[in-house]
């Protein structure tokens, strides 16, 4: 297996998750950070704008 350490990042539908990976699997800390702030902003805009329309 490849011993090099790689950061893997999964930009998912609701969050971003990442981990340190070697050929053996995930070896380091994983973190989940929500990346949908922009999405929620958009939804709020839709909810705010729709009644006006």
């Amino acid at each position: 297996m490849n011993p090099k350490v790689i950061i893997g990042i999964d930009l998912g539908a609701t969050n971003i998750r990442g981990g340190l990976v070697t050929g053996e699997g995930i070896t380091g800390t994983q973190q989940g950070l929500y990346a949908v702030k922009e999405l929620w902003t958009k939804f709020y805009r839709i909810y705010l704008i729709l009644p006006v329309c």
Partner: protein, 243 residues
């Protein structure tokens, strides 16, 4: 765009150390793999065209590889899951749609536009395969959501189990189409629908068993992913795949 990028920088910063040789990123979108530009990312409206590879390489000074999430799923299984040791395989994600990553001769084949393996979009009946052969089926045909049907099937609801059987017929036809085009010896299922495999496997295999080249079928394995973090592992696998 900046908020999501900042989140990527934050998580990369938490993980970065001197031994890191590269970064792999899986995104739910079409990608110009060579330039690492992502287009029209699902769920992130402002990401119409983002040169993610260039941005990340300038910031961190190490190689960055970007590809779509279904391809990353396949690579995750190939390097760390049910695909270990395989020369050729298809990673098939079955959730609210059908996506796929194709491994040929131990390499990912994504196509120049990262569009290879979009089996779910192929015309089928009056729609396309993913309309009938994925979790969409329940909403499209019976106006209910897949999670509700799954819970009902688990509780022994015969009607819900029958709906899964119908979906399995369509999925089996989709797999036959994949067999005719790629003849893979291994297909690994990912995505939420795989958890309902007991409810659709019978009808799915009925359709697969009608495959014209019957000598091929004994060499076909269909496995269910058991990997946690296949997206992260597969994203890192983009680096190994490029070596």
């Amino acid at each position: 765009m900046d908020e999501v990028l900042q989140d990527i920088f934050d998580i990369t910063g938490l993980l970065m150390n001197g031994s890191v040789a590269g970064i792999g990123i899986g995104v739910p979108s079409v990608v110009d793999v060579e330039k690492g530009i992502v287009y029209d990312v699902q769920y992130i409206p402002s990401w119409k065209e983002v040169p993610l590879k260039e941005i990340m390489e300038e910031r961190y000074g190490i190689p960055v590889f970007v590809n779509n999430d279904a391809n990353c799923f396949a690579l995750g299984e190939f390097y760390f899951g049910k695909g270990i040791g395989a020369d050729h395989m298809i990673g098939l994600t079955i959730g609210t749609g059908i996506g796929a990553g194709i491994i040929i001769n131990r390499r990912l084949y994504a196509g120049p536009n990262c569009g290879a393996g979009e089996f779910g979009m192929v015309d089928y009946l009056d729609r396309c395969y993913e309309y009938y052969g994925s979790g969409q089926f329940f909403q499209n045909v019976y106006q209910t959501d897949g999670q509700t049907v799954f819970e009902r099937a688990k509780a022994g609801d015969v009607q819900a189990q029958q709906w899964y059987a119908e979906m399995g017929t369509h999925l089996g036809n989709a797999i036959k189409m994949i067999l005719y085009t790629y003849d893979p010896p291994l297909i690994v299922f990912g995505g939420s629908v795989r958890h309902a495999y007991p409810y659709f496997q019978h009808t799915m295999w009925e359709r697969i068993n009608s495959f014209a080249f019957s000598k091929s079928l004994p060499r076909l394995r269909i496995e269910l992913s058991e990997l946690h973090n296949s997206g992260i592992l597969g994203a890192a696998g983009l680096y190994y795949n490029a070596l």
